[in-house]
């Protein structure tokens, strides 16, 4: 049987992480009121990705689980990014419709 409880995050750490996530949320909301123009999407997605990473790494225990799961997450991410990038090869280069 696997020994799953060798690693425990203390409740304090969890609450710290939670506060961190809240701060990032408010940061993201604040940023939306500043006119970043072209960067708005980038900034919002960057903050979201940071939050998602924190949730996955601590709350979802990627930090403690076997490496293979992290590798799988990575593969999934890469495949999904490939879908988006390759689809954009179409839309980014469409000749403007006359």
């Amino acid at each position: 049987m696997e020994n799953n409880h060798s690693h425990s995050i203390s409740n304090k750490t969890y609450i710290g992480i939670w506060i961190g996530l809240l701060i990032l949320t408010f940061l993201s909301v604040e940023a939306s009121f500043v006119q970043f123009r072209a960067f708005a999407v980038g900034v919002a997605l960057f903050i979201a990705t940071a939050k998602a990473f924190i949730v996955a790494y601590y709350f979802m225990h990627l930090k403690f689980d076997s490496k293979i799961i992290s590798i799988m997450v990575l593969v999934t991410g890469v495949v999904f990014l490939t879908f988006i990038i390759l689809t954009f090869f179409d839309y980014a280069f469409r000749e403007p419709i006359v």
Partner: protein, 207 residues
């Protein structure tokens, strides 16, 4: 070797790591299910940037922010409940899960008010006002209802999952040394949270 022995072998057979891998693989399919929608969103936003920016002004940032906070907090309570069951405090773990369910309910009530306001304005696909929207904005609202609707369904599914865990805790089937079901329910709940973490800025914040 006789049959009885085999059957008991089957029963004893327990592999938490396998359950966890199985759960993660399932989460990947969920991620890509939403991934398809994110792809559609990305392409259409790219084709109609102004219309999307205009349409997103219609959504209330306050509603979205409150729901984000609610969901992140519910993720915290789930995570805490798992570490309490490890410390052999089933009662505490159960209460934390109940708290999660309450937060889920708050999220849904919030969502209900938000949706009904939009529907009241005739923004649901097929309604009169919707049909008169400029092309890109109609797409935005179609996607808004489709994606947040699907997400809400996942909240319901996750709540049921957590409900099952609570029942198992009551029966004493989830214990300090056997809590993989609770851990998997937690994984699912966090995934629902992660998806919302992306939905929130994409619909509410990027004008």
């Amino acid at each position: 070797m006789n049959m009885n022995q085999t059957i008991s072998d089957h029963a004893v057979h327990r592999d938490d790591e396998a359950s966890k891998i199985g759960m993660w693989l399932f989460l990947f399919t969920e991620l890509l299910l939403f991934g398809g929608l994110f792809l559609v969103y990305t392409i259409y936003r790219n084709l109609n940037p102004d219309a999307f920016a205009n349409a997103s002004q219609e959504l209330s940032v306050a509603f979205g922010t409150i729901n984000t906070v609610v969901l992140i907090t519910s993720s915290l309570t789930v995570a805490l409940s798992i570490s309490t069951i490890k410390d052999n405090k089933p009662k505490m773990a159960k209460n934390l899960l109940w708290l999660t369910l309450i937060l889920a309910a708050v999220f849904m009530v919030n969502k209900y008010f938000e949706w009904s306001a939009k529907i009241h304005h005739g923004l649901f696909p097929g309604m009169e006002h919707f049909m008169q929207l400029p092309p890109g904005e109609a797409l935005f609202f179609f996607l808004y209802f489709f994606m947040t609707g699907l997400h809400a369904l996942h909240i319901v599914a996750g709540s049921i999952f957590i409900g099952v865990v609570i029942a198992q805790l009551n029966k004493g089937k989830i214990k300090y040394d056997d809590y993989i079901l609770q851990e998997n329910a937690g994984l699912y709940w966090h995934l629902v949270d992660v998806i919302w973490i992306y939905l929130f800025p994409l619909f509410y914040l990027i004008h």
